[in-house]
C-alpha cells in the first residue's frame, strides 16, 4: 500500500518583490524557510512557527498570510511581497516613514510583519478607523509597544494616502 518515495527537491518559479525567480527547494519547507534560507532574504521573521504571532507575514497575490503556514511548494506561479520590497528607489513607503516618526517600533522584530500587514490594509482601505486597524492587526503580536504607537503610525500613514 504505502509506497514511501524518496523525497526530491522540486523546482518552483515565483515572483518575489517584482523579481521572477526559479528556485529548487525541498518540498516540505515553508515559504518562510524558502525566503530566509533559499532566497536568503531575512527581513521576514520567525516568532512562533505556528501562525500565532504574525512576524512572518508576507503578501501573496494581494492577500497577507503567515509564511510559516505556507509551503514553499505552494507559491509556484505566485507573486510575493515581503518587507524587502516595501521601500522603492524613490524612498520609504509612507508606512515605514510613519513607523519611524511615531516611534512605532522598539526591538523591531515584529515590525516587518506589522508593516506588510498594514500596507495590505491601507491598499484596500485607505482610511480605516482605529477599531478596524486594531482588528486587522490582531494577528500580529508586539510585546514591546502596547500597540499604541503602531496604531497611531498606521493612522498617520493613512491620512497621507
Amino acid at each position: 500500500m504505502a509506497t514511501s518515495k524518496k523525497v526530491k527537491k522540486i523546482q518552483i518559479t515565483t515572483t518575489i518583490n517584482g523579481q521572477e525567480m526559479e528556485l529548487l527547494i525541498p518540498p516540505y519547507i515553508s515559504l518562510l524557510e524558502t525566503l530566509r534560507e533559499i532566497v536568503g532574504i531575512t527581513g521576514t521573521k520567525e516568532g512562533c512557527n505556528d501562525g500565532n504571532c504574525g512576524a512572518c507575514t508576507v503578501n501573496i497575490d494581494g492577500r497577507i498570510v503567515d509564511s510559516c503556514l505556507v509551503l514553499g511548494a505552494e507559491v509556484d506561479g505566485k507573486n510575493i511581497e515581503t518587507i524587502e520590497g516595501m521601500a522603492t528607489p524613490e524612498g520609504l513607503h509612507p508606512l515605514q516613514q510613519a513607523f519611524l516618526e511615531e516611534a512605532a517600533l522598539q526591538c523591531g522584530i515584529c515590525t516587518p510583519g506589522f508593516l506588510v500587514a498594514s500596507k495590505n490594509l491601507l491598499d484596500n482601505e485607505p482610511n480605516p478607523s482605529e477599531g478596524r486597524i486594531r482588528h486587522w492587526l490582531s494577528g500580529n503580536l508586539c510585546r514591546c509597544t502596547g500597540y499604541d504607537k503602531i496604531v497611531k503610525a498606521v493612522q498617520k500613514a493613512s491620512d497621507k494616502s
Partner: protein, 756 residues
C-alpha cells in the same frame, strides 16, 4: 508632559529624532541573531527533558552519532564540572555549578524542557531526527510545582546537597534556598498602636517575558581555542563571562557579538544555547547555529516567578500608616534566585512607614529557572500592597489618591530596608494623577445591561541601577561623530545615548552615528537591563563628549598656535576668545585637524540612578455574564527624571503597562499535575493583542535625578509594576469583588461573583 525640572534649555534632549537604527529595522535589513549566515554553517538541535523532575541514569548517544549527516553530539560530559562558587557578576547571582547545570542537565533534570543533550547536523531535520535516536534512561521523581508544595515538610528535595541560607545559617535538604528577614523599627508596637490593621494575601502564577524573538546562538570554536559567538542578548559581556565560566576558558578567549535583539525584558540576560553551540562547533569543526522553538522558549527559559505574598498594614484613625509587614514566597524554578531581595526593597517603597518587617523565601520548584522580568519581584509585591491599600481606603471611605499622598515617600524618607531616599518624584506623580483628565473624568455608566465599569489606581516603584558602561567617540572628517558602545539596543537606546552626546557637542542627533560593537571592541559594559542604559551608557557618552571637546580645543589651539585657554567650543563652532578672526565650524576643523584623529572615551561605574515611581489609572468594563474584562481607558504616569527621547520613554510606559495588563488578566503557566506547562504556545499563552487594548495615555513627570547631569532616571521597568493592582482595584470598583490571584481570568471572575 508635566515638568517639574528647573527649566534647563536643551537643543537635542527632549526632541524626537528618528532613531539611528530605524531605517534598518523598517526595511528588514537589521540583522537579528537568527539572520546570521556563515560559510559552512550547520545547525543544532537540543534534546529536552519530557519530565519535570527526574534522575538521569544514563544517556546513550551512539545511535544518534551513527545517523548520516550528524556532525556532533554532546551531553553534560562535554562540559567541565564547576564548583558551588557564588558568581560575583553584577546582574546575575547564583553559583557557577548551577549556571552550568541549567545550560545542560547533569545527573538530574529540574524542569520539563531542561536541556539534556545537543546535536549538530548539516540540516535542521537531520539534527531533529538524531535527537529521537538519543536514549535517555530517566528515573522519574515526584514534581514540586508551587511554593506551598515545595515548603511542605514532606516535600521531595529538588536540589540535594545544596547549602541553603536560612537567616545566616547553612541548611541542607530544603527547597527554601534563602530565607531572610529585613526589619526596621518596632513593628509589633506599630500594629498595637494602630486603629485599624488589615491583612491580604495574593497568589500569582508563573508568567513569561514573551519576547517575540526566540533565543538563538551561533558559534565558532577555532583552532587556537578561541570562541566567537553571535547571539541575541541583553548583555554581550555577561554572555562572555558566563560562557567562559561554563566552558572553562579565560574571558579573553570568548568574543561575543551582540546581534539585534528581538525583545528581552530581563529574559535575555541568562545564557542557554551559547555554550552548546560552542561545544558543538568544537566537535564538528564547523560554525553551528541553534535557535529555540517557541515551545522551548516557554518551557526552558525565563520565566518570572509565581508565588505568594502576604502583607499587613496598621493605620491610625487619621489615615497614617504606622506599621507594615510582608511575607514574600517566590518560585525560583529549578535553581535559586527568585528576586526576593528586589521584592523586599520594593514592597513598601511608595510609603513612609515608621516600622516594617519583611520576610522572604526563595523557593526551589520544578519549573524553568526564573529570569528577571522587568522590575523582577516588584509587580508581585505591588499586587499585594496596592490592593490592600485600596481595600483599607474602601473600608474607611478614604480617597485612595489622598491616602497615598498622605503617606507618600519622598527625599529623606527611610526605606523599608533602611537607607534614606535621595530625590524621588512619587509625590509629583500622585499630583499629576490628581490633575489628570482621566482621574477627573466621569466613569461612563451608560452601559448595556450585563456590563459594568470600574476605575482603579495604584502606584509602583523600581530602584534603577547604574553599573559599568564604556563609550568611544571619534570625530569624522566631515564633522560627524562615530560613537561606539557596548549596550545592546532593545528599544531606542542608540538614539537616547547619541542624543546625550549630541547635546554636549552642540550638534544634531543625526550627526552622532552610534554602533553597538562586540566584546573585543569596547570596554566592559553591563547589560541593557535594570533600567540603566540611557542613564549609565548615556552618562559615559556625556563624559566622553566633554573629553572630545577638550581634545578639539587642544587641537584647535595647536592649529591656531594660541594657548588652549584662549579656545572655546560652543554648539559646533570653535572660536578664539580674543581674536574674532579665529573661528571655524566643527566640520572645517575636522576636515583638517592636526595631530591625528580626534577621539575620546569614557567609562563609568555608577551607583543607583534615583528610583523611578509610577502611578497608573485604569477604567475597565466587565461582562458580568462571561467574566471578561476589557480595559477601556488607561493612563500611565511616571517620573522619568528627564525624558531624553520622549517617544521612547512613552513607549516604555505603554509597553510595560501592556505587559502588566496581560499578566493581570490572562497570562499564566497552566501546569499539569505532573509539572508540564500545558499552554506553551502563543495561542494558549494569551498575551494581549491590539484588539484587547485602548490607546495607553502617558504623563511624563520630570523630577531630575540628582545622580545624572541631565537628570535621567531609568524608565523601563517601573511601568510593569502598577498594572496588576490597578486592574484588580478597578474590578473591585466595578463589581465589589477582590481578586487575589493572577490571572484575573474570566472563569475566576465568574467564580468570585458566585461566591460574593
Amino acid at each position: 508632559m508635566v515638568s517639574t525640572a528647573d527649566k534647563k534649555e536643551y537643543k537635542v534632549i527632549g526632541t524626537r529624532p528618528i532613531r539611528h537604527d530605524g531605517y534598518d529595522k523598517v526595511t528588514g535589513r537589521a540583522q537579528y541573531g537568527a539572520d546570521i549566515k556563515l560559510p559552512g554553517l550547520v545547525f543544532g538541535a537540543v534534546l529536552r527533558s519530557p519530565h519535570a523532575h527526574a534522575i538521569i541514569k544514563n544517556i546513550d548517544t551512539s545511535e544518534a552519532e551513527k545517523l548520516s549527516g550528524v556532525l556532533a553530539v554532546m551531553t553534560a560530559k562535554d562540559l567541565p564540572r564547576l564548583e558551588n562558587i557564588q558568581r560575583a557578576s553584577a546582574e546575575e547571582s547564583g553559583s557557577e555549578k548551577h549556571l552550568s547545570e541549567n545550560v545542560l542537565a547533569h545527573k538530574k533534570v529540574m524542569y520539563k524542557g531542561h536541556a539534556v543533550a545537543a546535536v549538530a547536523a548539516g540540516d535542521i531535520n537531520t539534527a531533529e531526527e538524531a535527537l529521537n535516536k538519543i536514549k535517555v534512561d530517566y528515573e522519574v521523581l515526584e514534581p514540586v510545582i508551587n511554593v506551598d508544595q515545595a515548603m511542605d515538610k514532606d516535600a521531595p528535595i529538588i536540589l540535594e546537597g545544596f547549602e541553603a541560607d536560612h537567616l545566616g545559617k547553612k541548611v541542607l535538604n530544603t527547597n527554601v534556598a534563602l530565607h531572610e528577614i529585613h526589619d526596621f523599627g518596632d513593628v509589633e508596637k506599630g500594629f498595637s498602636e494602630s486603629d485599624f490593621v488589615l491583612e491580604n494575601e495574593v497568589n500569582m502564577q508563573t508568567v513569561h517575558q514573551g519576547y517575540i524573538e526566540p533565543h538563538n546562538a551561533t558559534a565558532i570554536w577555532d583552532e587556537e581555542d578561541r570562541v566567537k559567538i553571535w547571539t541575541s542578548t541583553q548583555g554581550s559581556f555577561t554572555v562572555r563571562d558566563s560562557v567562559s565560566k561554563v566552558l572553562g576558558l579565560d574571558v579573553s578567549r570568548v568574543r561575543v557579538t551582540p546581534m539585534e535583539i528581538g525583545g528581552g525584558f530581563g529574559g535575555k540576560i541568562p545564557i542557554y544555547l551559547e555554550p552548546l553551540a560552542a561545544v558543538l562547533s568544537r566537535k564538528s569543526r564547523r560554525p553551528v547555529k541553534l535557535i529555540m522553538t517557541r515551545t522551548d522558549v516557554f518551557e526552558s527559559t525565563g520565566p518570572a516567578p509565581g508565588g505568594k505574598v502576604k502583607v499587613k498594614l496598621g493605620v491610625d484613625s487619621s489615615g497614617k500608616i504606622l506599621a507594615a509587614s510582608a511575607v514574600i514566597k517566590l518560585e525560583a524554578g529549578g535553581f535559586p534566585e527568585a528576586f526576593i531581595e528586589a521584592a523586599s526593597q520594593c514592597v513598601f517603597s511608595c510609603y513612609d512607614i515608621p516600622s516594617t518587617r519583611i520576610e522572604g523565601y526563595d523557593v526551589i520548584v520544578n519549573k524553568p529557572s526564573s529570569a528577571a522580568y522587568r522590575a523582577p519581584g516588584s509587580p508581585q509585591v505591588a499586587f499585594a500592597i496596592e490592593t490592600l491599600v485600596d481595600e483599607i481606603c474602601d473600608k474607611k471611605g478614604w480617597d485612595p489618591l489622598e491616602f497615598r499622598v498622605k503617606n507618600v515617600a519622598r527625599k529623606g524618607t527611610r526605606t523599608a530596608l533602611g537607607p534614606l531616599y535621595t530625590r524621588i518624584g512619587l509625590e509629583e506623580c500622585l499630583e499629576a494623577a490628581k490633575k489628570s483628565d482621566h482621574w477627573n473624568s466621569k466613569l461612563n455608566d451608560n452601559l448595556p445591561s450585563g456590563k459594568k465599569r470600574g476605575r482603579g489606581i495604584a502606584s509602583g516603584y523600581w530602584f534603577n541601577i547604574g553599573f559599568k558602561s564604556h563609550v568611544n567617540l571619534a570625530l569624522n572628517s566631515d564633522g560627524t561623530v562615530a560613537l561606539t558602545e557596548g549596550s545592546t539596543d532593545i528599544g531606542g537606546t542608540r538614539a537616547a545615548i547619541s542624543m546625550q552626546a549630541a547635546e554636549v557637542l552642540g550638534i544634531p542627533a543625526e550627526d552622532v552615528r552610534p554602533s553597538v560593537v562586540d566584546t573585543d571592541s569596547i570596554g566592559y559594559t553591563d547589560v541593557t537591563g535594570g533600567s540603566r542604559t540611557c542613564y549609565a551608557t548615556g552618562y559615559a557618552a556625556y563624559l566622553a563628549s566633554q573629553k572630545l571637546i577638550e581634545e578639539i580645543e587642544e587641537k584647535a589651539a595647536l592649529k591656531w598656535d594660541i594657548d588652549v585657554t584662549e579656545v572655546v567650543y560652543e554648539n559646533g563652532i570653535i572660536k578664539s576668545k580674543s581674536n574674532s578672526e579665529l573661528k571655524m565650524t566643527l566640520k572645517e576643523f575636522a576636515d583638517d585637524s592636526p595631530g591625528g584623529p580626534v577621539t575620546a572615551n569614557a567609562s563609568v561605574d555608577l551607583e543607583e540612578a534615583g528610583g523611578g515611581f509610577g502611578v497608573h489609572i485604569a477604567d475597565i468594563e466587565i461582562d458580568e455574564n462571561t467574566g471578561k474584562t476589557d480595559v477601556v481607558r488607561y493612563t500611565a504616569i511616571q517620573d522619568c527624571g528627564k525624558a531624553i527621547h520622549p517617544s521612547y520613554v512613552e513607549g516604555q510606559l505603554q509597553g510595560g503597562a501592556t505587559q502588566g495588563i496581560g499578566w493581570a488578566l490572562n497570562e499564566e503557566y497552566y501546569m499539569s499535575q505532573d509539572g508540564r506547562m500545558e499552554n506553551s504556545s502563543y495561542l494558549d499563552y494569551r498575551m494581549p493583542i491590539s484588539l484587547d487594548l485602548p490607546m495607553i495615555d502617558t504623563i511624563l513627570v520630570e523630577v531630575p535625578s540628582e545622580e545624572h547631569p541631565f537628570g535621567v532616571r531609568g524608565v523601563g521597568e517601573t511601568p510593569i509594576v502598577p498594572p496588576i493592582p490597578t486592574i484588580s482595584n478597578a474590578i473591585h470598583n466595578a463589581l465589589g469583588i477582590r481578586m487575589s490571584s493572577t490571572p484575573m481570568k474570566p472563569s475566576s471572575i465568574i467564580e468570585s461573583l458566585k461566591n460574593k
